[in-house]
């Protein structure tokens, strides 16, 4: 029973994919859209069912289908595991997933390849579910690479534009760099513990036998590299902003809400492993903190509405990693969920704006949209407040928990984190002001068509906005449902912070900081009514920021270019050299032959002479060697 339902949960999106890829064109846009959405809704229902079930029983369901890969000293089975963590993830993946599908029906309606779009989206959901449900590292890896593939397909969805294709390729390859790390981690775990199965792994590790700290650290590091690839942490984050080339719903679903949180999921899954590698945890925390700050600073000056959101995503992911590094997994999870709500909402909102402006993404050409599109405005405002961490919206609780933990463990990280969140507040409201306030700066005929988006677009916004507002309830400080729910996952229990004066202090500071950021933005863009200059006019440090610290250029210079040069060098020189060595023998033989022909000069005298010489040579040799022969 459970198994079948679980398979339904898993396969519904896959069936949707098949239906869309093969029949989609003939079925027509609405139907294919409907199929795609229903498929995801079904799995949402299933996950809900299991969620409620496990909420009562607390019994994880593990499903073993068949042996998949045989390794000399253990088998890797093809199985799934439905426990608290995976169900939580499933819930918001499928939930937000279905909302975004719904949204896409209208958003992609005038694209002739809509069925393909839905096919890919379904495929993505399928792989995401695989990733989450996998009962061992390798099944997780299937999903892991699968979602990478889907993001490749979706970023490059408008494949006629080679820049988009480049972005897609970049995303895939950077992910693959991470994946190599993941694989290496798998290998190490494999030969350390002779299993990849989460349950067994946990048991083995908690049993605490044959634990080689060095190798565990190595495994942790490798896995973290994998995670940072998928979740866009330094140094592998540059693909995420480029990924905004994809249609906006994709950005919302894949590059904000779900896929990019896979790294957090994986580390949380393996928390018992990381708990044993404090050094790696520190690295994670530091990287996370730095990422969040760097991304935030870049976000300050971006003018493409989606780019801003992209960098804010990176920055928020940084915060989550900070939490992970501090060992506060459940807080990280908490932030993942709240972030999923408001970031999805923000992306979809921006989508609806872009939709209204006929694919105009530059904020300098927007403004004053709040009258034209109130619902979008309200929902985005709520989400922005949430992300900025304004009491009592969801973002406040989650972010605040993170900062508290940071404060308790290392003030420096706390400072960085708070700084990042202040900046977040600033650029989010920069975005809001530039987009919705003052008067419209776009072209006339755009102004004409300004209108609120249709219900199909706004409905998901509303739902998400509500969630973004109240999402914090699942884990209020003191009595947190989430902590309790996730308890069984973690090797060491984390006591929730008892709320003392320091905690209130920190909350206050955070709120003040957020308000400060908002204030500055207000002063800059409402009071002085500034508008960011044209790209070429940008100067000084903001230019550096605007060009993302030239990281892409640096990578280009130190990695891509050399490899290509090397490739050319090999192709043009080494190859020919090797070939000529082999040919050399043939050439030598031919040359010899050519010389030899001179010896064969046709003169009888010479021939006989050679005859006699040969005779004498042999005789004299034999006589010298020995008399008898």
């Amino acid at each position: 029973m459970d198994i079948n339902l679980a398979l339904v949960l898993l396969l519904a999106p896959f069936l949707g994919f098949l239906a869309n890829i093969f029949l989609g064109k003939s079925l027509g846009k609405n139907i294919s859209g409907a199929i795609g959405t229903i498929a995801v809704v079904v799995s949402f229902a299933m996950s809900l069912f299991f969620f409620l079930q496990i909420n009562q029983t607390g019994q994880p369901i593990s499903i073993h289908l068949f042996d998949w890969i045989a390794i000399s000293n253990f088998n890797i089975e093809f199985g799934f595991l439905l426990d608290q963590l995976s169900l939580l993830w499933l819930l918001f993946v499928t939930g937000i997933g279905s909302l975004i599908h719904l949204y896409s029906i209208s958003y992609m309606h005038d694209d002739e390849k809509m069925h393909k779009f839905f096919a890919y989206l379904n495929l993505f959901v399928f792989f995401m579910i695989t990733l989450v449900m996998g009962s061992n590292l390798l099944i997780m890896f299937i999903g892991w690479e699968g979602v990478g593939l889907c993001s490749y397909l979706l970023i490059g969805f408008w494949y006629k534009n080679q820049n988009y294709n480049d972005a897609a390729k970049k995303a895939f390859i950077m992910n693959r760099i991470g994946d190599l790390g993941f694989l290496v981690g798998i290998f190490i775990i494999g030969f350390m513990f002779n299993t990849l199965d989460f349950a067994t792994l946990k048991a083995t590790i908690l049993a605490g036998n044959n634990l080689d700290a060095y190798w565990i650290a190595a495994a942790g590091l490798a896995l973290f590299i994998g995670a940072s690839g998928k979740s866009a942490q330094i140094p592998l984050y540059t693909w995420l902003p480029d990924a905004m080339a994809g249609p906006t719903p994709v950005s919302a679903l894949i590059h904000a809400a779900t896929m990019v949180t896979a790294g957090i999921f994986m580390i949380t899954r393996l928390n018992f492993l990381f708990d044993l590698a404090p050094a790696i945890q520190d690295i994670i925390a530091v990287i996370g903190a730095i990422t969040s700050l760097v991304a935030a600073t870049i976000g300050l000056v971006q003018n493409d509405i989606k780019k801003v959101l992209a960098y804010s995503t990176v920055s928020q992911l940084g915060l989550m990693f900070l939490a992970l590094g501090l060992g506060a997994y459940e807080i990280a999870v908490f932030h993942v969920i709240t972030h999923a709500f408001f970031k999805a909402c923000l992306f979809l909102g921006s989508g609806s704006v872009i939709h209204a402006l006929h694919h105009e993404q530059d904020m300098r050409k927007m403004g004053g949209l709040r009258k034209a599109m109130p619902i979008t405005f309200i929902t985005m405002l709520i989400s922005s407040l949430a992300i900025s961490g304004i009491f009592p919206l969801s973002g406040f609780w989650s972010k605040d928990e993170i900062l508290m933990t940071a404060y308790h463990q290392s003030p420096v990280l706390w400072v960085i984190g708070s700084l990042a969140s202040i900046l977040t507040a600033f650029y989010m409201f920069r975005l809001m002001y530039l987009t919705f306030f003052k008067e419209f700066r776009g072209s006339e005929e755009q102004k004409h068509h300004l209108h609120e988006s249709p219900a199909l677009l706004t409905f998901p916004l509303i739902v998400l906005a509500i969630l973004a507002a109240i999402g914090g309830l699942i884990s209020l400080p003191g009595h947190s449902w989430l902590n309790h729910y996730l308890e069984p996952l973690f090797s060491k229990a984390h006591e929730a912070h008892h709320l003392g004066t320091t905690e209130y202090m920190l909350m206050a500071i955070a709120t003040v900081g957020a308000l400060l950021g908002i204030g500055i933005a207000y002063a800059k863009y409402i009071k002085q009514a500034q508008v960011p200059e044209e790209d070429e006019k940008i100067t000084g440090f903001s230019k550096v920021l605007y060009n993302k610290y030239y990281v892409d250029e640096v990578y280009e210079a130190i990695i891509v270019k050399p490899i290509n040069l090397l490739s050319r060098f090999f192709r043009d020189y080494i190859e020919t050299a090797l070939a000529s060595i082999v040919f050399g023998f043939g050439k030598a033989a031919n040359e010899l032959s050519f010389q030899g022909k001179k010896l064969q000069n046709g003169s009888i005298g010479f021939y006989l002479f050679a005859f006699v010489i040969g005779f004498c040579a042999i005789v004299s040799y034999l006589i010298l060697a020995q008399k008898k022969f």
Binding site: W68, I71, W144, L149, K160, F172, R176, L183, I188, V582
Partner: protein, 478 residues
């Protein structure tokens, strides 16, 4: 009922094809290909039923050479690879017109015959004979039906022939030497030999020369790219799909068990060569202008990894290698066929002259995409199983090997996607591109189905090959 029937069928097939005339030849060839496939499946069932399907008979009295064919799981797996790919390859050629087709298809079947023999032979000399026989048909296929400038082609093909022959003649010398020791060419007698480490080293090197050239392992690969480029696509498929697997198979079957201590002692060197091949091949593939050459180098990279796997001398390595051989056999055939499909429409192999095909041919694009993904070993494709197992075995030897070998995951994705982007994507191409015909679809779909199915459920193949591999491992560790 024993394995010799396969050879007989294929041989008869070759002659039947020759005498059936140019009109009928393709169909007859396909028919015999399918028959042999069916028969080998039947043999497989017999084998699984535990029947003895070996065929042994005396042949030459002095020196004693016997005509003995033995089929264990490994041989059968390779045999199936051969008999499954042959009809596919034959069928894939249906789209093209060949002058005196009867010779062409007859040669294909003859080659398949020789390769089947190589996989089955259990007598050193018999094995060598089949090994050489396989060389002759491909030589003529490439020479007569190849493409490009005739002079260049001749140069490439002759170089290929002489080069590979050179390698294998040293193998022959090694075999004769072993015969001098054992007084028999039978594999089990050769396995029994106790050779000094010095002898083993020389034997090992002699074999290595033969296989390194055939596989090819760098730096012995110089013949490959040109021949792949110049040969007709069918020839390229035969070469890359099956023939190069002969080399890898032989490493497992002959080289390692015959000179185990040498293999153990110098393991790292040969692993390093394999890995070097992975990296070198991938990097060279990045900047290829010719589609077939690019694929050639990619296959250089992949077989490098496989070779590294075989030289790890542990079960995972061998198993992964065999799985990867099969997977690579299929995917590379598919990819070369894709190149051919494009050639049929655009008359070019220059990547620069392609692009913007996707919008004209959705079906083709999807299938091509899947093949690309398979070749970069995306999980849930069969290639992933093999590559994962091989890399795992490498990590057992030293994590660094796994990391270096793992670069194929990154570089492979790089050049394959780059290629895909330049071939398929971008603004719609001015030239019309007709989407795949039914025949082409059949070929590609069957390949893809195979790859995906066994990607999810590789158990049958694993169970088939594992016992014989364990067997070989024990012989190596004797």
């Amino acid at each position: 009922m024993d394995v010799s029937f396969i050879l007989i069928i294929l041989l008869i097939g070759a002659f039947a094809t020759y005498f059936s005339g140019d009109k009928l030849a393709p169909k007859v060839a396909l028919l015999f290909g399918l028959v042999s496939l069916g028969f080998s499946v039947y043999l497989l069932s017999l084998f699984n039923a535990g029947q003895n399907i070996d065929f042994i008979s005396a042949w030459i009295t002095k020196p004693s050479i016997s005509f003995s064919l033995k089929a264990d799981g490994l041989s059968l797996a390779m045999l199936l690879l051969n008999t499954a790919l042959t009809p596919l390859i034959i069928f894939s050629a249906f789209g093209n017109e060949f002058r005196n087709a009867k010779n062409f298809y007859a040669l294909i079947l003859f080659m398949s015959f020789a390769m089947a023999g190589t996989f089955l032979a259990a007598d050193g000399l018999l094995y060598y004979i089949f090994w050489e026989l396989a060389l002759i048909p491909i030589y003529f296929i490439a020479l007569i039906w190849g493409n490009g400038d005739a002079e260049e082609r001749k140069k490439a093909v002759v170089k290929f022939f002489i080069y590979t022959l050179a390698g294998s003649l040293f193998m022959l010398t090694a075999f004769i030497y072993l015969y001098g020791k054992a007084g028999s060419f039978l594999i089990e007698d050769l396995y029994k030999l106790e050779l000094s480490s010095q002898e083993q080293l020389w034997i090992f090197l002699a074999f290595f020369l033969a296989y390194a050239i055939k596989i090819p392992i760098i730096p012995f690969h110089t013949w490959q790219a040109k021949v792949y480029q110049k040969a007709p696509t069918v020839g390229t498929m035969l070469l890359s799909g099956i023939m190069l697997k002969m080399g890898l198979y032989s490493v497992i079957r002959w080289q390692l068990p015959l000179a185990p201590s040498a293999a153990k002692e110098y393991m790292t060197i040969f692993i390093a060569l394999g890995i070097a091949g992975v990296i070198y091949g991938s990097i060279v593939a990045l900047r290829q202008k010719d589609l077939k050459k690019l694929l050639a180098y990619s296959s250089l990279a992949h077989v490098g990894l496989i070779a590294a796997g075989t030289y790890t001398l542990n079960l995972d390595g061998l198993r992964g290698a065999v799985l990867q051989m099969i997977a690579h056999g299929f995917v590379v055939v598919g990819l070369f066929f894709v190149a051919e499909i494009i050639y049929r429409r655009y008359e070019t192999r220059e990547i620069s002259e392609m692009g913007g095909i996707r919008s004209q041919s959705p079906k083709f694009t999807s299938m091509f995409m899947i093949l690309v993904l398979a070749s970069v070993a995306l999980p849930s494709t069969f290639n992933f199983i093999g590559e994962f197992t091989v890399l795992y075995s490498l990590s057992q030897i030293g994590i660094i090997w796994a990391i270096l070998g793992g670069t194929t995951i990154i570089l492979g994705a790089y050049y394959m996607l780059r290629m895909f982007q330049h071939v398929m994507l971008g603004e719609t191409n001015a030239k019309l591109f007709k989407d795949v015909t039914t025949n082409e679809t059949i070929v590609l779909v069957s390949i893809i189905t195979f790859l995906l199915f066994f990607g999810i459920y590789p158990k049958p193949i694993t169970d088939l090959i594992t016992p014989s591999l364990e067997n070989i491992i024990t012989i190596i560790n004797r």
